[in-house]
Point group: C2
Chain length 341, copies 2
DNA sequence: TGGGTTTATTGAAACGGTTCAATAACCCAT
DNA sequence: ATGGGTTATTGAACCGTTTCAATAAACCCA
């Protein structure tokens, strides 16, 4: 295994000079530069990351902790599809900046916090991304106290004094409500994500606001709390359809959840997009592929990944200690929604 | 930042002893152990990964390179959904063994090879996973020459003398052909993945074998080369339906591809599962959610992830230098297939 | 009691880079 | 020639661990 020392001696210079070449080539004279370059190429030399980061205190790595529960062997969580797209964005922006991405798995939330502690403690990363922010999230103060750069995907309830990227769920849902109202719908139901998540609060607020802005009667029975899952969509849609006055349109927490609702509607012999409209959330790639294709609120996951990393790097570089970005979801109209009367 | 030295002095022992405690507690006397443990907990000490791996030459990290093309902003590749599931398996098994996962992105195949070189050269990982094996894959000899432990997901054409985990695509497709034949289908088409991929060869062989074993007439026009994408499935299904004697069943390269085919069939006013049967491949989580739900060959991605990592760790530990595993896909029968006549 | 073994602990030398003060070399103006 | 100011290069200390030969302590048994 070649070391900087071998490169130095073979090129007839000191290791300091080679180090300079490696970190800031313009510090070394052009002709020396050529010699070193030749030797490095010849020996196919790469400076060892461990040695480098031991002294320089930076790893050129950013970290991410992912919760993977061993029990649900099969991930039907749409967040997962979204996660992949997000990951693609993160990954490519990370690469763009000459970094690598370190992913750790944790079994549950308690383990997750420990994993963050370990990643930071062992000094394996220069910064972190935090996802799935809860209404009050213990990870935020923890990382802040550790003074390690991080960016959150989402805003917590209070104390939003940390770097984040978020999607304006309220505006999105309000947009969808207006759209449905314009189509003539008066009875619009909403299957929300779990209350514990921050995004739930925002979206719910958008729902109420949307109803108010369009002179629609709020109706508690039309708001059901569920999960992001298909199963949840299916069950809760059935519940809604069992109401004495069932809704004519259903907003859901995710595309997969919407798919479940569509399944339920279909099972009752109703036609989606005609008798009942369904709106998803996320715009996962399959939303356009299924039949009927899904009207949905598009979250630009890849873009979000980009933004997250750009924010993180600007924190790491000290360029901007508190970047905060909010993106708006777009309403993508497809076949699962239609006029009412 | 606390170091091993501070722990040592505060516990009144030498750093060597602390190191022993860290790496093999039973080397240190029980009572000393208690003292050290207390101090470590008190200071919330974590040994620095960089220092550790500089000396010990192991990183407790395994790597993975992912190609992310910047142009196709939207990943419709089902391989991607599968990839996520695979990743979950890999991730959790990696965590199980006290390792972390390092993911790098590359823009294309040339960059990918360079990225492998960098990961290995800079010594950032103890082992690697290689995915999407081509018929002859340059990464295999490269890594072999570097003498770094790795495991491939898939078998290359010749020279299969490396550790791998693979799915028996031939058996899977043959199973599907038999199933369709038993349902009465005589004209079975197959939309294959790109020829460059190794899995294509295997599956194609399974297709021919399946036909032969069920006394069915092979028909060149029934085999079309496409991609894994939905678009590909849609286009090629149309092509098949345009044939003077169109097939009554279509095998596809992936579930997403099957979804495309179903869309095409639907557009022509035909009923999937009645007039035409469609079989997917992968069994992504959405296969059971769409309507009609998809008959498909299930690849146990999470399990594959497990196997990959178990293999990798047994290579790393030297326990088994050449683990080779082949898993069989299961036929999952749902609504997209049905009797013919 | 003493020699031999086992068990615990220590101290110092690595590991392969970065960093920075010190030096050397060079150029130009006086 | 001399001095001042750049620009290039050097050498050694240092980063925080592991490793291992050497030592010390404890134990065992004849």
């Amino acid at each position: 295994m070649t070391t900087i020392r071998e490169i130095a001696t073979s090129a007839g210079v000191s290791i300091g000079t080679v180090s300079n070449y490696l970190n800031d080539p313009k510090l070394v004279a052009p002709e020396t530069r050529k010699k070193i370059e030749a030797k490095i190429r010849e020996a196919n030399y790469h400076p060892k990351a461990a040695a480098r980061s031991l002294k320089s205190r930076q790893t050129k790595r950013v970290g991410l902790v992912r919760i993977i529960s061993p029990e649900d062997y099969r991930s039907t969580d749409p967040g997962d599809n979204a996660f992949l797209e997000l990951l693609a964005g993160i990954n490519s922006m990370v690469a763009e900046n000459g970094y690598d991405l370190l992913i750790s798995a944790a079994k549950n939330e308690a383990e997750e916090l420990k994993t963050y502690a370990r990643l930071v403690g062992t000094g394996q990363v220069d910064g972190l991304v935090v996802m799935g922010i809860g209404r009050t999230d213990p990870r935020l103060p923890f990382l802040q106290e550790k003074k390690i750069p991080f960016v959150a995907y989402g805003r917590a309830e209070q104390d939003t004094n940390y770097p984040y990227v978020d999607v304006d769920g309220a505006a999105g849902i309000a947009k969808a409500v207006k759209y449905l109202s314009d189509l003539g719908h008066r009875r619009i139901a909403y299957i929300t994500p779990p209350q514990s998540l921050m995004c739930t609060q925002q979206r719910l607020e958008g729902y109420w606001r949307g109803l108010a802005e369009n002179q629609l009667q709020p109706e508690d029975a039309y708001v059901l709390e569920g999960a992001f899952s298909q199963r949840s969509g299916q069950t809760l849609a059935h519940k809604l359809l069992d109401l004495p006055e069932p809704p004519t349109a259903i907003l859901t927490a995710s595309d997969v959840c919407a798919l479940g609702a569509i399944r339920a509607i279909h099972d009752r012999g109703l036609v989606v997009g005609k008798q009942i409209s369904v709106v998803g959330f996320d715009d996962i790639s399959l939303a356009g592929m299924v039949h009927p294709s899904l009207t949905t609120l598009s979250q630009p996951f890849r873009r979000i990944g980009f933004e997250l990393m750009q924010s993180l790097f600007s924190v790491i570089s000290g360029e901007n200690a508190m970047p905060q970005t909010i993106l708006s979801p777009e309403l993508v109209v497809r076949q699962s929604t239609g006029k009412w009367n």
